[in-house]
């Protein structure tokens, strides 16, 4: 694919809704290790290799794509990079990072040699397009950050449109829907390349803030897409760089909580996988949420999720305490719904049935179209022998609109929802790069 072809394809693809399929089938991609007796076909890499083999041409075309890419778009440069093989991109990464390192270390009239070619400061400045532009980031940091944004955009917006195997590394994953395995996916190498590039960015406060936001936003995207396989590698890497960051701790906790969910655990039965059992994931989630709350005691969303995990682990008194604290903090509607619903369950577990009923009712009032609190109220009534009360609650459930899309109980999307979604976070990430003066 050349740049023109890529541009044409990007024009067509721009009109496709990103989330159009989501209500039809929720795909969960989970890494699994393949047993020797059961070989799995790894999706083939794209057949065409439009990348020039000569290292300098390859690097030049990549740098052009980085400069031309408009953050947040599946544009021609993104399609161009989406067609690269993993091998070429790896080789290009070595070249790029070497050039960046040379650039940052050289001064005056010093000359270094790479692939037998001499480079002075001016040569590198021109090659890496370090002249001109105004950015909140210093030259090399800006270049690498823009490159990471480009490859995240390729991974998020382009490879799925390029057909089977595009952007795939050799690691296979499982795709499941409703707890049933429905196919194979892969670990995307564009994510790995982007992370590798960001590892070379400096530790300046501005750069750290940009990288942190990049991890936060892209992790939110992967979690929303239920792509737990790529999210595992991604969030682990981000956590290593920002071990105390509450947002990344939170997303790491959310990943483990989701891996403990029934839809994932059912799909993984009978497979040898890298995903631990539910209780192990829940314990990990608990630790991560606790760290997030310690780092930011007002992080109400982390507190609500921590409480839910504690409850599932049978630690109902602790869960009730966390929810009591959370309910004192400002919350959006959806989070309020979760908190009230979870509180109902914890109080029921503690034998406080009347209090439980009150909280289920509050949850039901918060989202009147939701099924779960009504079912919970029916259960409470039936458990107490109140058949009429149970029937009344169940009739309310059965009378809700038939469509699960219209009904939209937030409980059904608990694992792929955050208060601040990836669209908002990515917009925040892109903004400084959209307003900065274009690189020459």
């Amino acid at each position: 694919m050349n740049v023109e072809q890529a541009r044409a394809e990007s024009d067509i693809s721009r009109h496709r809704p990103r989330h159009g399929w989501r209500r039809c089938a929720l795909w969960v991609a989970v890494v699994f290790l393949v047993l020797p007796a059961r070989p799995v076909t790894v999706p083939a890499a794209p057949q065409k290799n439009p990348v020039p083999l000569e290292w300098r041409q390859r690097l030049q075309s990549w740098l052009d794509a980085i400069a031309d890419h408009r953050p947040g778009e599946a544009d021609a440069p993104a399609y161009f990079m989406g067609a690269w093989s993993e091998g070429d991109l790896d080789a290009g990464t070595t070249d790029l990072l070497t050039m960046v390192t040379l650039y940052s270390r050289m001064f005056g009239r010093q000359v270094s040699t790479y692939h037998g070619e001499p480079f002075g400061v001016m040569d590198l400045t021109q090659l890496l397009k370090m002249t001109g532009g105004d950015s909140h980031l210093a030259g090399a940091d800006r270049l690498l950050m823009r490159a990471a944004i480009l490859h995240a955009d390729v991974a998020m917006r382009v490879v799925s449109r390029l057909g089977s195997g595009a952007g795939c590394s050799a690691i296979s994953t499982v795709k499941s829907s409703d707890g049933t395995r429905v196919g194979a996916g892969c670990i995307g190498f564009h994510w790995r390349i982007a992370r590798t590039l960001l590892d070379a960015v400096s530790n300046s406060p501005d750069a750290r803030a940009a990288i942190r936001l990049w991890y936060h936003a892209t992790s939110a995207f992967l979690l929303e897409e239920l792509d737990y396989a790529n999210a595992s590698f991604h969030i682990d890497h981000g956590q290593a760089r920002f071990p105390e960051d509450p947002a990344i701790l939170f997303e790491h906790g959310l990943l483990h909580e989701a891996l403990a969910s029934a839809s994932v655990q059912i799909a993984l039965r009978g497979l040898k996988t890298s995903v631990p059992a539910a209780d192990v994931n829940l314990r990990d989630a608990r630790g991560l949420y606790e760290s997030a709350v310690r780092a930011d005691p007002d992080f109400v969303e982390a507190r609500v999720r921590l409480a839910r995990v504690l409850g599932v682990l049978g630690r109902h008194e602790e869960a009730e305490r966390e929810l009591s604290k959370a309910l004192l903090l400002p919350m959006n509607t959806r989070l309020t719904y979760y908190a009230e619903l979870f509180m109902g369950d914890e109080l029921r577990a503690l034998g406080r049935r009347d209090d439980a009923r009150s909280h289920y009712k509050l949850a039901s009032e918060t989202v009147p179209i939701a099924q779960s609190p009504k079912v919970a109220l029916g259960f409470l009534a039936r458990q107490a022998g109140d058949r009429a009360g149970a029937l009344q609650a169940v009739q309310q459930v059965l009378a809700l609109p038939a469509s699960d899309v219209v009904r939209a109980d937030p409980w059904w999307t608990y694992y792929n929802w955050q208060s601040k979604d990836s669209v908002a976070l990515l917009r925040e990430l892109y903004q400084p790069f959209l307003v900065e003066r274009r690189l020459p």
Binding site: S177, D178, S263
Partner: protein
């Protein structure tokens, strides 16, 4: 009603229901327990048994059987059908055929209702004696979404026991639960409290069927694990026939505490027969 032991109706329930079609009113002092019992010999149902042929042990105490009825009570059949994404194509066609076969097997005084579930649990039609309404609703079903089989089982049990007639809940599902709010243990507890009998038909095998296996055991029903949906008509009809050929045995518990778990043993004193009944019931809070 709230003081009654769950799963439990009352002595003479059969007569009172069939006579006037209204919910019976019971003495607060005398609670009767109703147990659905299947008696077979060589795999075939045994008919003609009377109260003196049954022996019921409630928490180790032998009870006086008051009434035994066989093939006389109208049914209240709740069809709880999985409409998640995986039930597409041939499975849906076969499921419609199976449900339709069951509807054709109902008597004029039987009622039925159609509950479907994916994430959402929805009453599509009924309870009604007009099978055509259920059939029309079956034709309108479109699979999508995840599986809330636990929530749906709970709602179906409550709906089943709400009307006159012997409550029979038939759950069809092709996978494990992925989106219910209630936990399996919650609904199993209700299964111990209700007099509804739950049968389940599930495709595939494996631990994801644990819930349906436990629920059918608890309520005295049966789980049919099927490899393919091709013979669903026969399976649905088989459930109906088996349920019709069960005895409803009633007794008023004596010499046992009112609340808590009551372990039941049901025996038939005559002949070399197999007896299937619920293992017990839960009374009180």
């Amino acid at each position: 009603m709230t003081r009654l032991a769950p799963m439990v109706a009352v002595a003479l329930v059969a007569a009172s229901l069939t006579a006037n079609g209204q919910a019976p009113v019971f003495s607060s002092k005398v609670e009767a327990v109703r147990v659905d019992v299947l008696v077979t010999k060589g795999g075939k149902p045994v008919g003609g048994l009377t109260p003196k042929d049954f022996e019921i042990i409630d928490n180790g105490v032998r009870q006086q059987v008051d009434l035994v009825s066989f093939e006389r009570l109208p049914l209240n059949v709740i069809l709880a059908l999985d409409m998640s994404y995986s039930v597409i194509g041939e499975r849906l066609t076969n499921l419609r055929r199976g449900a339709d076969a069951l509807l054709k097997g109902l008597n004029a005084d039987d009622k039925s209702a159609l509950v479907t579930f994916n994430d959402a649990v929805t009453l599509r039609a009924g309870p009604t004696a007009d099978a055509a309404r259920i059939r029309a609703a079956l034709d309108r079903m479109t699979p999508a979404g995840n599986t809330s089989v636990v929530d749906a089982s709970f709602a179906s049990i409550v709906l089943g026991e709400s009307d006159v007639g012997r409550p029979l809940v038939i759950v069809f599902s092709d996978g494990g639960d992925t989106s219910s709010w209630l936990k399996p243990a919650d609904v199993l507890e209700i299964g111990k409290r209700t007099d509804a009998v739950v049968y389940a038909i599930a495709t595939g095998r494996g631990p994801q069927l644990d819930f349906l296996n436990d629920l059918t055991d608890t309520t005295g029903g049966r789980l049919f694990e099927i490899e393919s949906t091709k013979n669903l008509e026969a399976t649905f009809l088989g459930v109906l026939e088996e349920f019709r050929q069960r005895y409803v045995v009633s007794y008023s518990p004596e010499g046992v505490s009112r609340d808590g778990w009551h372990r039941l043993a049901v025996r038939v004193t005559t002949g070399d027969v197999k007896v299937k009944a619920r293992p017990g019931y839960l009374a009180g809070r």
